[in-house]
């Protein structure tokens, strides 16, 4: 763990800055967690923050709306991916992130995302090429399992106990339910907002170098090669024996990410 953390809450996103011992002369790393997870679950308890700060990187984590320490507003508009990306841009500005300058290793920001966080990173990188140096996208896919989520089926399961027919929706719901602190209504509102703004990776493609990482048994990431093709200069790393839920701790993942971001 780094020498210190600094909390801040913008109206939408709770964020923390994790400083390495001795400070940092390198650009910070923004970490975006996945659906039904949190900065704590996705990045802290998995050892990522320790690995990144240990490599001298300052880490900016955020909790997405309805997740972790962020609030759970009722209105759907707060959960729109476009609204979240705007809040991230404001947050980076407040955190002192400056536009990329070729000769300055402290300028700009690197981004690492997992799952839904990778989708947001993809779009953010495409929209803010002046800020984003490199991105590591974990558990990424060209599809959008949240836009395809069977909300009606999930609500019926919760009220009447009838099984959710779509297996991917059933898995996502189970994932959301297993963390007692999760606010299911907020997560459903996020899903509604995502249905209105589904992931269409070909419509805005980030141009910076990408590292795509997924478990070789990750069914949500089988379409990761399509993302690599769209970007044109992405590396794709598959982790043997790992699934969507357990690839995130992988040492091979961390080592590859640190090496890629250090390059």
């Amino acid at each position: 763990m780094g020498a210190g953390t600094l909390d801040s809450t913008s109206p939408l996103l709770h964020s923390q800055i994790h400083e390495p011992d001795g400070g940092s002369v390198l650009r910070p790393v923004l970490a975006l967690h996945g659906f039904a997870s949190s900065a704590e679950m996705n990045w802290a308890s998995t050892g990522w923050i320790g690995a990144l700060t240990g490599a001298g990187r300052r880490v900016i984590t955020v909790d997405l709306p309805g997740h972790g320490l962020s609030g759970s507003p009722e209105e759907r508009e707060h959960y729109r991916p476009s609204r979240i990306r705007k809040a991230i841009l404001e947050l980076l500005d407040e955190s002192g992130v400056t536009p990329l300058v070729d000769a300055d290793p402290a300028s700009g920001v690197d981004v690492i995302g997992y799952s839904l966080g990778s989708r947001l990173a993809w779009e953010f990188g495409a929209a803010a090429p002046q800020l984003v140096h490199r991105m590591v996208l974990g558990g990424p896919g060209a599809g959008d399992p949240l836009a395809d989520f069977d909300l009606e089926g999930a609500r019926k399961f919760l009220s009447e106990g009838t099984p959710v027919p779509d297996p991917v929706s059933a898995d996502l719901l189970k994932m959301a339910q297993i963390v007692p602190s999760n606010n299911l209504e907020a997560l459903f509102t996020l899903i509604e907002a995502i249905k209105e703004e589904p992931f269409r990776p070909a419509e805005s493609v980030p141009s910076m170098p990408l590292l795509l990482v997924a478990g070789d048994q990750d069914e949500l990431a089988v379409s990761a090669p399509q993302l690599a093709e769209l970007n044109g200069k992405a590396d794709l790393l598959l982790l043997p024996g790992r699934r969507h839920a357990n690839a995130v701790t992988s040492r091979a993942f961390k080592t590859a990410a640190l090496e890629f971001l250090g390059g």
């Binding site: 998995t46 050892g47 320790g50 024996g241 701790t249 040492r251």
Partner: protein, 109 residues
């Protein structure tokens, strides 16, 4: 040398077991406090467990894919005799001792 056993800690939220994903250390390795020891997966999430102390790894329990119950041995460390506490407890770090000079005395030291 003495041995200290470190059981699988309580992972919170009523979880009673975890599956070993990958060991990050092997018997014979010298580890530092907070160094990542092992990745485990619970029904909730995957986590990386940091070492509670410095020492040499004597044994590890559970191959990748095996389940371990909370409270069962996970790893055994070999430590110098004088640092071993009661088995199962983590030795306290020595309190920081620092001399504070209350007034400047130029001829001291």
């Amino acid at each position: 040398m003495a041995e200290i056993s470190f059981p699988l800690p309580d992972l919170g939220e009523g979880l009673i077991e975890a599956t070993v994903l990958e060991w990050l250390v092997a018997p014979g390795d010298q580890v530092e406090r907070n160094q990542p020891l092992v990745e485990v997966e619970t029904s909730k999430s995957a986590v990386e467990l940091p070492s509670p102390q410095a020492g040499v790894v004597a044994r590890v329990y559970g191959e990748a894919g095996e389940k371990i119950n909370v409270g069962e041995p996970l790893v055994v460390f070999e430590v110098p005799d004088d640092t071993a506490g009661i088995v199962g407890t983590v030795p306290q770090e020595a309190p920081a001792r620092r001399r504070v000079r209350l007034s400047a005395v130029l001829d001291e030291d």
